[in-house]
Symmetry: C2
Subunit: 180 residues, 2 copies
Amino acid sequence: MDFTEKKISEELEFDGKIIKVYTDKVLLPNGKEGYREVVRHKGAVAAVPIDGDEVIMVRQFRYAAGKHLLEIPAGKLDSDDEDPEWRIKEELMEEIGKYPQKLEYLGYIYTSPGFATEKIHLYLATDLVDNKKETDEDEFVEVVRMRFEEALRMVLEGEIVDSKTIAGIVRAWYKFKGGF
Amino acid sequence: MDFTEKKISEELEFDGKIIKVYTDKVLLPNGKEGYREVVRHKGAVAAVPIDGDEVIMVRQFRYAAGKHLLEIPAGKLDSDDEDPEWRIKEELMEEIGKYPQKLEYLGYIYTSPGFATEKIHLYLATDLVDNKKETDEDEFVEVVRMRFEEALRMVLEGEIVDSKTIAGIVRAWYKFKGGF
């Protein structure tokens, strides 16, 4: 069934550095008018870096969540036409000091499609070689290595709670192990 | 390591029906001041309804994503103290016409902790009995049944892209099957 909603008009409500917020008037499938709050975000890219039988993650404070979270390395895209593979290579060198000689695409996710346009591309990063790039001085990130199987357990038992990390770990496991 | 950021002040930028957007001035771990854009959202609850060897999902148009997505049933919480189990029972009756006699908690996720407070509680819903509640007339949802194993494959191969659905399906599979 086709439930497509068409934009009638939009209003910019907040123009931030990372997000822009719009209220859109839309045409609903029943011909009525509806109202949508939309957080527009340029999207992001994340990778699951595998080194032997370990995955390399990062632990950082997430202000919106109010706590430290364990996540796979990731970075925001700066524009719609930025190459996600170039971006994630930069992020891996900055966040964990590794350059991936091999990247395999794991598809994308929508983090919160009820109100946000954010789409995150996911990769499996392997054949890692040391290559450290300087980070922003205001970025506070701790590198955490653990067995890939332990990370999978933490995802499945609810100890890893970041949505892109959950999707990345399970898709990487499936690709890397060739099944479940 | 403790990278906690403390709020210095906040400014309300957009006061919507579903989201509120703030810009907060924060104290960074290095003693400097930082700036955070925060989308505050009351959170949500979602469930993976299992009926025999099938999972019951919903397909709906997601305006922010610009496409139809296949998702597990879910609903927003209306306040911080609303009971998530009560809310998801209501949603299951409205969206798929089933009441779950058994709910098992699968933990929570943060959908997009870089900018949004949204936290989604996940449940495995079983022992389903028919019980249809009327929906909002402006909600357009198609019920989709498929084999649980097929849904898992779609998650892992990137055909299911909604983050809460990915987390719900893999955690439900793990709990329901007792492993991978």
